[in-house]
Symmetry: C2
Subunit: 513 residues, 2 copies
């Protein structure tokens, strides 16, 4: 919104969009870097697709959410729409490039949805997704397990240790459960989507929806309850593997066997303790065919992420905090910060001959950003909220007739830049020393380089670490030769970086839970 | 284009757009990182604006190029258009945030133009710009000189040393020259845009356009010739400072004095030798009010960038190679890879009370990418053209009854990932050893980690550096304890990185000119 009235322009960004600047932009950028580094560590290669696609590419992929797609105006030529997610463009790319038979690709980019925005809840019309997907026909559950490992690495490196849980389920198990309980074929998806609401509604309400709205037999619903209210880990799986009714169903049997394989692999990847096998997880999108997962956190409320038991204890409350409101991304559930699964048939929708199975994960960065920022603010980690990352501010002072030493300041900056040191100086010809100190302080710049006329004549200047307490031996700075300024400063920067918590990961992991 | 016919979908990206993947995406990403690092070194902070703006924000900013703006369809609500550049959104942001009185901002993002695409010449409808701008009222030419220094750092770090020239001129000098020569007030901009064509047309053609098409007096044109055909450095400036006619014109005098100051500052920043004071540089956009500059290269043809003398010698040829064709970006001139200048009045177009002077630079990344890629291919720097950056491929082998050691490979990968090492393994249960070697070779992965049943039982595995010549003492790999695998591999990776040319800068700077 324009802060100044009386303009002839409507000075604002379009509804549901915003500018990102200052410390917010820097923090979000560090989250992107953290996530991209994990993706690269697993051999991910970048794919960048156009922000708009031919409209027919997006048609028929999003069900009733298709009404939220932004269309470009017909200005002659092709009819295009802004992308709604990063998955369909990836599938389109795979279908086009049928020589690619396997790939790990990542894509960090904006997507567009003409949804009703709720900016204070983080629901925007333009927002970022960070996706990693593995395409290719491989032995069962191996890439699926690596995706779960990737999820864990991302949240561990964001400093969320102990604050997140990966809910895991399998579409084949769910379909088998519904069949065994007696859900008619044509009610499978509606009943599945009712079950998916168990994270925000008590069972009684979900049962009501099944029976009253969707015409399910009440006894069938009661049988479903006995399955979908379960969550746990290996012990749950073991008990299901002994369930004769389930094992008699081909779909459930296949799903349970894959889940057993998955847990073996998660153990080898040392992340089995991060998942909760949650039989109520169904996920909204139709195209999932295998494992599905969703990452939940209560980080924004500063509460430890749910252990399966804790989750069970809270079930049925049906009460939402503001943070728990529906995510921006309809493919993300309540309070979830990442979600994904296996989709083996999507590419074939574009090109049957190019069919290729896929499994992937999408991180909801805006939500991760909000939770991270709230925590940094609460814990007053000012360092993480700086607007820039400048290392040194080059300043000068002098007595009567002082000429400002602009060129000298420029020459010193030039030396620092050439050595890769981030440096600034005042653009005034004759800046006052307090002004220069203020600029350095406002930027939270750790070092001042102070030029005085007499010192400079002797080939010297002063390195002053900002914010040292009174009485510190270097409070007034240290005089160094200009010729050794770069190395002296580099030594101090390295020491400061080691001593302080420098990376986002370290900053966030070091915080109290 | 779909490689497989018979699809019911039109499998392609929209006209003038393309997907970026594999080594192209990786190389472009490294160029972005190089540029962003320079921006941050100068205290730049990121600004990210929405990809579309209210249509009225863009209206009246681009002259007749406004017809190239992409509009969103009216689906109810606000009328929006895709951004055409990053400068107008920046000015809109400054006008909205009138409490910001000074900022160094950078923005690396896509812009959109419904131009006739010429993909093989790199002219696209969706393309990236990398912008750095300094807003604020400062002492004259100080931030302007820092922008020139930034340009030099970017191209030096891209390895273009000796291959680029920054053409520099000043709108006030140009306006003064036109006034002194007798150009009528109403012909100033048309004559200026004719002069701007001197980089692709001989003087005779430009004169013809001035006289025949734009109705300029032939004698006036001849007087203009004597000025605008000059290029040089301080000596040219000195001769102009002695030109009585010019010094009698207030605009020219102010421009010349600012140019003198600029050269002083460029000397302090150690980049004066990188510029060519080129009096024919006029730049297309109307909004420039002070210094203007454009970076030219002949890097794509492998030829040394023009020294002022060489440029002079070639003048008047008027012949274009394909590489010299008009850039994608109409704001970039022939063969130019970056351009910018001072624009003191643009923000005031949005909000007179928020008026704030600005100076900036925009890098044409697509062109920089094409030139860089052509050079790497020519010089066969395969390393720079890898698709991913994986450090190690974990593989296993065994004799009869070999179980594939999948979980063991997973566990080793898990250890490597936890140590931050980029690693992959085969997703097959029982992969054959040659298949695994082939995968490592195809990915240009430098190290193989080889698990054998007997070795593993003894707590050992083998590190094999890929591609060692026959007879090398470590050709068959080195056996190490599993417990010291991470440190042994890290040591080798560090050594390889030091020995090899690892950064893009080093890679490119190390190449022959």
């Amino acid at each position: 919104m324009a802060k100044d009235k009386g303009s002839s322009f409507n000075l604002k960004t379009p509804k549901g969009t915003k500018d990102w600047s200052g410390s917010d932009a820097l923090l979000r950028d560090r989250i992107f870097t953290t996530i991209a580094n994990v993706f690269k560590r697993h051999g991910g290669t970048a794919l960048d697709t156009p922000v708009f696609e031919l409209r027919e590419i997006l048609a028929g992929k999003y069900g009733e959410d298709s009404k939220l797609i932004y269309d470009l105006k017909d200005q002659g030529g092709e009819i295009c729409s802004l992308r709604y997610d990063l998955t369909v463009p990836f599938a389109r790319w795979l279908a086009m490039n049928s020589d690619v038979r396997s790939i790990k690709r990542y894509h960090i980019a904006k997507v567009y949805r003409r949804d009703q925005p709720a900016i204070n809840k983080g629901r925007m019309r333009e927002f970022y997704q960070c996706d990693f997907d593995i395409a290719g026909a491989f032995d069962p559950m191996v890439p699926d397990a690596e995706i779960i490992r990737i999820i864990c690495e991302v949240f561990e490196e964001l400093g969320w240790t102990g604050r997140y849980t990966i809910k895991l389920n399998h579409r084949k198990i769910l379909d088998g459960v519904f069949a065994v309980c007696g859900v008619p074929e044509d009610k499978l998806r509606p009943i599945s989507s009712a079950v998916d609401k168990l994270d925000k509604m008590p069972w009684a309400d979900v049962r009501k929806e099944m029976v009253d709205d969707k015409g399910l037999d009440g006894e069938v619903a009661d049988r479903i309850e006995k399955y979908v209210m379960n969550k746990g880990s290996r012990e749950l799986l073991d008990s299901l593997l002994k369930d004769e009714a389930l094992n008699a169903n081909a779909s459930a049997k296949a799903g349970l066997e894959e889940m057993a394989l998955m847990m073996d692999y998660l153990e080898a990847f040392n992340v089995l303790d991060k998942i909760s096998f949650d039989m109520s997880l169904a996920r909204g999108l139709d195209y999932y065919t295998g494992v599905i997962y969703e990452v939940v956190t209560e980080g924004s409320a500063g509460v430890q992420a749910d252990a399966p038991e804790a989750q069970k204890a809270k079930k049925g409350k049906g009460k939402l905090t503001e943070d728990d409101d529906r995510s921006n991304d309809p493919t993300l559930g309540v309070g979830s910060v990442a979600a994904g699964g296996r989709y083996d048939n999507l590419v074939g929708m574009f090109q049957p001959k190019a069919q290729i199975p896929c499994v992937g994960i999408s991180f909801g960065v805006d939500r991760i950003f909000s939770i991270t920022k709230a925590r940094l603010e609460r814990e007053q980690k000012a360092d993480a909220l700086r607007k820039s990352e400048v290392d040194a501010y080059v300043m000068a002072f002098g007595g009567k007739g002082f000429n400002g030493m602009l060129k000298e300041r420029m020459e010193i900056c030039q030396k620092l830049w050439s050595a890769g040191i981030k440096a600034e100086f005042s653009y005034k010809l004759k800046p006052k020393l307090p002004q220069q100190f203020k600029a350095a302080e406002q930027g939270a710049i750790p070092f001042g380089i102070i030029l005085g006329e007499e010192e400079l004549a002797a080939g010297k200047c002063r390195i002053k670490e900002m914010g040292l307490p009174e009485g510190h031996p270097e409070k007034e700075g240290v005089e160094v030769d200009i010729t050794s300024l770069v190395s002296e400063l580099q030594t101090r920067l390295a020491k400061k970086q080691q001593g302080a918590i420098s990376s986002l990961a370290a900053q966030l992991q070091g915080t109290s839970v």
